[in-house]
């Protein structure tokens, strides 16, 4: 069983990350169960998706407390929100780029310091890399790219379904998102 919490703020493309991982898991013959948030919370609020991958049947759509292997966050403060789900030996991969839409957003250095307390944690310049790839909206794919070597899935399959996800928006959008994925992956590799 591999348990992932994907987090961020409504509108940051959390469900797009989940779509790519789900489809790749299906292609690789894994069981998966993925819970997501619709409705009210999507309006600029905290949004999370629980995603579980396994070689055997999965029953609970929710990850139990303390049993997430990975927190994959498109926003640093939102990574912290789900720490109670994280195994002490688990991994955090988060964007460094804050989304400030609340008056009491803590000092960013404090947020980073908390994330860094987890031994396996990586902060990615997702905003900057997304811009470099061609669109600020591709932060989610940067983070997915950074996390890709931790996922029990093949990189080729992930990229295949990034293509599927964005193909209706045209080749340029597909290329931007694939580039964002690659930049994220490289950034994580250069840190380790």
């Amino acid at each position: 069983m591999y348990n992932i919490i994907i987090s961020g703020v409504g509108g940051q493309g959390i469900l797009s990350i989940a779509f790519v991982i789900d489809q790749a898991a299906l292609a690789e013959g894994l069981y998966f169960l993925q819970s997501e948030v619709h409705g009210m919370s999507q309006r600029g609020g905290a949004v999370e998706s629980h995603l579980r991958l396994s070689e055997t049947e999965i029953f609970s759509p929710l990850i139990p407390l303390g049993e997430a292997d990975l927190i994959l966050s498109v926003e640093p403060l939102e990574a912290l929100r789900y720490f109670s789900f994280l195994k002490p030996e688990g991994t955090v991969i988060s964007s460094r780029t804050p989304y400030v839409n609340i008056p009491d957003y803590p000092p960013l250095e404090e947020v980073f310091r908390e994330i860094k307390k987890v031994r396996e944690s990586w902060l990615i310049e997702a905003g900057q890399l997304a811009k470099q790839a061609g669109s600020m909206r591709a932060e989610n794919m940067v983070v997915l790219g950074a996390a890709s070597r931790y996922l029990p899935l093949h990189e080729d399959n992930l990229k295949k379904f990034i293509r599927v996800l964005f193909q209706s928006k045209g080749e340029k959008v597909v290329e931007t998102n694939l580039k964002a994925f690659d930049l994220g992956r490289q950034a994580a590799e250069s840190q380790s």
Partner: protein, 529 residues
Amino acid sequence: MEKVVLLGDEAVALGAIHSGLTAAYSYPGTPASEIMEFLIRQSAGGKNFVAKWCVNEKVATEEALGVSFAGQRAMVSFKHVGLNVAADPFINAAITGANGGLVIVTADDPGFHSSQNEQDNRFYADFAHLLCFEPSSHQEAYDQTREAFDLSEKFGLPVMIRLVTRLAHSRAPVAVGEPRGKNQGFKYGYGPDWTLLPANARRRYGDLLQKQKDLQSYAEECRFNQFSPPEPGQRLGVVASGLAASYFREVVNRLETRPAFLKISTYPFPQKKLLELIDQVDEILVIEEGYPFLERFIRGVTGLPGKVIKGKMDGTLPASGELRPEIVARVLGLPVRNGVSLGDFKLPARPPQLCPGCPHADTFKALNEALQGYERGNVFSDIGCYTLGALPPYRAIQSCVCMGASVSMAKGGAEAGVYPSVAVIGDSTFAHSGITPLLDAVYSQTDMTVVILDNSTVAMTGAQPSFGTGQPLDRMLVGLGVSPEHIRVITPLPRNHQLNVGIIKEELAYHGLSVIIARRECIQILGNK
């Protein structure tokens, strides 16, 4: 068999399509909206089957009943509170019975994710004497929907399906079967059965009562209700329904000896299977998502002599909120892991909020300013994105109860001395349930001001079409009898702020009924164009 990745909502929708659906109706509401969204996408603009948003849940249910009368298969779906709106046709459709298969889907929201309550609609199925499925997985959501259509025709009754948020809004692969065609050859329902004059209704209610034993024997044998005896030495029995059964199955392998287990996914619940479980154990743990529905039956008035019953009613499980796997693990005495602690770090909440550039924000700012200086006023509001106007920085509204209640409450408030008595309601909510109370206010010439936030869509649930927007809304208001000089239209934009404050002030000062339409398209829709 082919596997398709589906939300729980979509598994129900695809199950209906594969059952030979002729028509489906709904009103948007989280967590049920994705059922109709999926159906509309698959309907090919109505070529394959009818899939339509309706003005409200009562209308949707009655339209589905009309399809059933005509011998065709119909489904209606909505969030749990939608069944309150549709309760009248729902209860009475059990008495008329169904002709073509009629399936009613309700998505309950334990945990109040997007709702004003966490009512458990299994009580409604029981109240109406109808069969109800409660799927425990995506596969069951699909399979039970198919079964529901067949059973509806077999028993001549509507069948209910109860989803909960976590199933409705999670995604998993589902194995799908061969689609079945639509019902062939129109055969209308038998008129006297469908005409609930007291003499007919008495007879039909008698028929419904007669069918109860058939429903009961179906549920006893139903493959979705499963009993497994305890392993030797184990004196605990677990009764768990729907998704709760899946939480139990998640953790059961960690127990040294397996308890007796009765998984319930079909109601009326299987009484014989329950008695079989009770016979083999000393302690019974009832786990269910929602209210203690089964637990109340099992406890009865006197409990079970010599047995201990545990569940929500004795505090073993939380009485409110959603179940979680670790809650079930803890109750079974299993250790629960600790995650990573944040120590002293204070994590601020990030509540949902109105989008940057939202027209409602400009309306609330203007309304707040216009109301300054009044001491006995109140703003009654309604259900939609604009309910977020209750939160800072706006703090502009003081009520949110149920669809349309803003207008009726403003009238009641005005009659009890509230001045200014203001209702704030969205365009779609107005069409859903605001028109009738406004007609009431017109008739009484009530001194109140209704603000209709016309953003041209059902924004909160994902931009479904609104039935009361634009010019038709203006004409509707005149048609209802609102005085044309007191129907005012404002454009909520920062640059119009002073102008809008002035208009609102004029109408607040007017001692009669006014309607102000704050008209500007939802920023989300605009962004997607």
